[in-house]
Symmetry: C2
Subunit: 285 residues, 2 copies
């Protein structure tokens, strides 16, 4: 089985690791515009060989895990190179722009739009880990636009990796994911910024911060190169979530200013039910 | 050694566990206005016996781990009951109001104002864990107001538990802790609220949320009964942090609306240095 991973970082690298472990005979080819990442991926045995777009004609499965802006320019080119029996899927955090962009591509049937909800705050080939996708959700959009046999081939792989599948249209995906993923990243980045700005002496933060702070700012370690185009492509939904979040924070502040501590208690108490909601979320660590 | 733990939940219970493990001969007495918590603490062997304020005359060490509003009424009463060689310390997340409140107490020298920066999002006796304080910071305020010998006795215990000590005045403590702890809790609670409000069908959140969301809303599981009085006592500082946080979120939104993606990249890139700052924070899990 010839598997090509285009963009060999945390997402593509972790997938490569699992595929190799589960299919020892798989040939994993890596393509990356970052030469040192590609070299690192070879050294780490994430891939068996380096490759280029010209080699894609022999591909059976192509995994595209690159920033979502690069996805727009690269996926049409990638599809141009693959044979009719090859399935190409992405792992991007936005779906609407990409799906629209590929709608008229002559090889649209070779493409499956995916978003595996998995990751860590780290990036690059060295961030790749075993079993990242076990028990995680993979959201598939516009499944009906992919050839049956190629859907099957991809689903077989996702099943092997331990993922559960949810089908959704690209617009619903982008709207929901803004709430449960994109907003979390902004809240975390801005929390980190607020504290760093105030505490010029970083030693003070270090000494007084506990695991609660660490948890809420964990996502502020994420890659700006990956996240900037996500926010750009999902701007409308992200702005909406931000407005609602800011409104809620402002309302909380007003309760404080009015000394309405019963109101503050109620807000927290009502939100405590997040405990039940979170129980089913699989963690990476 | 007679050790009394007043308020036998996560904080007091974890301390009781470690003290018992490190000093098998210690007698741990528990006092709690929640009868079922006290019973649970006995069953879990967190304490050896139940006790009341009248028994405090035999205490050598008293740990007060109750909500910070109860602290204001209870600590003066507790101090009234102890003998001259007994050290009483608290574990509250606010320090200025409490220290001011106890300033004229005839037994002020028996009290050490403490804030061990440790915990989890869970509460009650069953949340108590071994080694919670290992490697954690304990902030001590107004150390000079505590009798030398009693400072020593408490510090010996803290050393046994593996804590490192930082001295700070109560006002500086409350100001800094608002940034690295209190604001994190509000950002988390309001993030949880924003998402719950939007996603009425909780199944959708569950399916699409990953470990990043889980991490940023973890603190929204925290106890409202514990946190409401903290926000009340530290209102002024908390409002200030909230205003700065809201301003930063608003500025981020404006960058999005102006399509200033270079600005967005820079904001995230500058905040990435949180990686280095966080490296030294000891985690509970």
């Amino acid at each position: 089985m010839n598997v090509f991973v285009i963009g060999i970082g945390l997402i593509g690298g972790s997938m490569a690791k699992d595929i190799k472990r589960l299919n020892p005979n798989a040939n994993i080819f890596g393509i990356d515009n970052n030469a040192s990442h590609l070299e690192e991926a070879l050294t780490l045995n994430l891939i068996d060989s380096k490759a280029s777009y010209d080699d894609l004609q022999s591909a059976e499965i192509v995994i595209v895990s690159i920033p979502v802006d690069a996805m727009l320019s690269e996926l049409p080119r990638i599809l141009n190179h693959v044979n009719d029996d090859c399935v190409v899927f992405d792992a991007g955090s936005t779906k609407a722009t990409l799906c629209k962009n590929l709608d008229d591509h002559p090889k649209r049937r070779n493409f499956l739009a995916c978003h595996p909800i998995a990751g860590t705050e780290f990036s690059g080939p060295s961030a790749a880990i075993d079993g990242l996708y076990q028990g995680k959700t993979n959201i598939i959009c516009e499944v009906e636009k992919t050839a049956f046999k190629l859907q099957e081939k991809a689903l077989e792989l996702f099943q092997q990796l331990g993922m559960r599948i949810r089908y959704m249209n690209p617009e619903a995906h982008d709207k929901h994911i803004a709430y449960v993923s994109h907003l979390s990243h902004i809240s975390s980045f801005m929390l980190g910024k607020t504290v760093i700005e105030k505490e010029k002496n970083e030693r003070d933060i270090f000494d007084m911060a506990g695991s609660g702070f660490e948890s809420t700012v964990r996502l502020a370690k994420s890659s700006p190169a990956m996240w900037t185009p996500i926010f750009e492509q999902n701007k409308e939904n992200v702005v909406e979530t931000l407005e609602e979040y800011i409104q809620n924070l402002e309302a909380f502040k007003q309760l404080l200013l009015k000394n309405d501590y019963e109101g503050i208690y109620d807000q927290m108490n009502n939100t405590n039910k997040i405990k039940e909601i979170l129980k089913g979320i699989p963690l990476n660590k």
